[in-house]
């Protein structure tokens, strides 16, 4: 289980998270929604200790992440797969080596690494691309390799940072299906950060709306779709008249 408890985080004078609290239950996929720049990715990075809270704490399987010793943090990270917004593949390495990177860290035998790389690439429908370099792949393919790299670790949790941003609708739908397939086949708990409502409804068991640095509402997909909260309604319906309100609210967060 992943628990955010009253997390505050600022960058200079910009207050991004202001008492963010949320529970992600084992086995569920939690979607965190919010406007661009609202702090969704910031919240996600706290789970793997890439960022430390100014106040509050993030707990993963009973361990408070920012209090862990370096070795304990590394052990925790080995159980969490992170899919970055632009895949963050190491461009000096082939696709196969990128996926094998985390497995080599776990000191697995080379034949098992080879097997797991093949399995992960098959799962994202990219079998046979082991020897290609990231620069030779399209944006959608790179994202799928990023997912394969995370899945190959056989983690307990998968974290997705804007997995469909910047993709055409068909490729975005393919990525959504991959996330659903990964959860169904591997039973991994997930946290998905996005502002793509179609993706949120497809992959999410529950959805949390991050607004002004706090969780505005959390509920099942049906509960969010039927919400009466004006801020959440405006966001999920993507109404243009809401854009000014959103800008103003983000301005308040920053002030």
């Amino acid at each position: 289980m992943i628990i955010f408890r009253d997390v505050h985080k600022s960058f200079g004078s910009k207050r991004v998270l202001q008492g963010f609290s949320l529970e992600v239950r084992d086995g569920e996929t939690m979607v965190i929604l919010g406007y661009s720049g609202s702090g969704k990715s910031v919240a996600l990075k706290h789970i793997v200790g890439l960022l430390e809270p100014d106040q509050g704490e993030v707990e993963v399987d009973g361990q408070v992440v920012h209090r862990l010793e370096r070795r304990e943090l590394m052990a925790l990270r080995a159980n969490i797969g992170f899919v970055f917004q632009f895949a963050a593949l190491l461009d000096s390495m082939t696709v196969g080596d990128n996926i094998a990177l985390g497995l080599r860290r776990q000191r697995l035998p080379e034949d098992e690494i080879h097997e797991r790389v093949g399995e992960a690439l098959s799962l994202v429908d990219l079998a046979g691309t082991e020897d290609r370099y990231p620069a030779e792949l399209s944006g959608g393919m790179r994202k799928r390799v990023g997912i394969a790299r995370a899945i190959a670790l056989r983690p307990r949790y998968l974290l997705y940072d804007e997995p469909t941003t910047g993709l055409d609708p068909v490729t975005a739908a393919v990525i959504d299906q991959l996330m659903v397939r990964a959860k169904r086949k591997l039973g991994i708990s997930g946290v998905v950060v996005t502002h793509d409502m179609r993706s949120a409804y497809t992959v999410g068991d529950r959805i949390a709306m991050l607004y002004k640095g706090l969780v505005r509402q959390v509920g099942t997909v049906a509960e969010i779709q039927d919400t009466r909260d004006p801020a959440v309604r405006q966001f999920i319906e993507g109404r243009p008249e809401a854009a000014a309100d959103a800008e103003a609210s983000l301005g308040e967060v920053a002030s």
Binding site: L50, A75, F82, F84, Q85, A88, L90, L101, G102
Partner: protein, 253 residues
């Protein structure tokens, strides 16, 4: 005015503190041999072997110029075989290590800063962390070790090339025989001339790679910041090379 000065001093102290913390992290990461061990040979090739041509090019022309300028200065006043003395001493003690160091500050320092800066802005460094790697062990230690170990090898080749080109210039363009050039070369030669240059070049390699890594990993966002990091890495490294050059002269000579 006073506030501005105080702010500047505080900024320098903070930068010095960050550098100290970074160096301590590198020291701690040295224990993680399993990570950096397999990556260091590749960096030695990139940092060391690939730098040999530029180092030899600079050394060759330095040797030619030294021989000609020595002849111009000595003619009529000092025996011409002192051309060998001046070429040998200058190349080994000063110009071999320092000119090579300055050239490699551009070649290696800028390359390291730009590469790590790009990795930082494209979240590749974060990706390494989420895969349970320490970026210092994976990215910094191999580059720092490679530069520290390989720079002396590059410089010793540069020293040899400088003396060789000085000799070729002396026998072909000046009225000097090989025996006279070698006589001058051996006249005040001490083994310390060589190891002093090599100690200096190892310290230059360490400095250039550390500065490049610090600047690269400090990049926050955008292509402009990557460019600035590369420029800063070259400028700071060049300044530190000259400061270190003076430091070693005071301490070891």
């Amino acid at each position: 005015m006073y506030e501005l000065l105080a702010g500047r001093v505080a900024g320098w102290l903070a930068a010095f503190g960050r550098l100290g913390y970074f160096v301590a992290s590198v020291g701690r990461a040295l224990r993680d041999v399993g990570t950096w061990g397999s990556l260091t040979a590749g960096q030695m090739r990139r940092v060391g072997v690939a730098s040999v041509p530029i180092a030899l090019f600079i050394a060759a022309f330095t040797g030619i110029v030294l021989a000609l300028q020595a002849s111009y200065t000595f003619t009529g006043a000092v025996p011409l075989y002192f051309v060998g003395t001046l070429v040998g001493k200058t190349v080994m003690l000063e110009l071999g290590p320092v000119l090579t160091g300055l050239a490699l500050a551009g070649r290696v320092g800028a390359n390291v800063a730009a590469e790590l800066g790009t990795m930082r802005v494209t979240e590749q460094v974060d990706a390494l962390e989420t895969l349970a790697y320490d970026p210092i062990s994976y990215l910094v230690v191999p580059r720092v070790l490679a530069a520290t170990v390989m720079f002396p090898f590059v410089v010793i080749l540069a020293m040899a090339m400088g003396v060789l080109s000085g000799w070729l210039t002396a026998v072909n363009l000046l009225d000097l025989s090989t025996a006279e050039f070698v006589r001058g070369l051996k006249l005040f030669y001490r083994f310390k001339d060589v190891w002093f240059g090599l100690v200096k070049s190892a310290s230059f390699g360490l400095t250039i790679s550390l500065v490049g890594c610090v600047k690269g990993l400090s990049v926050d966002r955008g292509a402009e910041a990557v460019g600035r990091a590369a420029t800063d890495a070259v400028v700071v490294s060049a300044m530190l090379i000259l400061a270190l050059d003076a430091f070693w002269a005071i301490v070891l000579l």
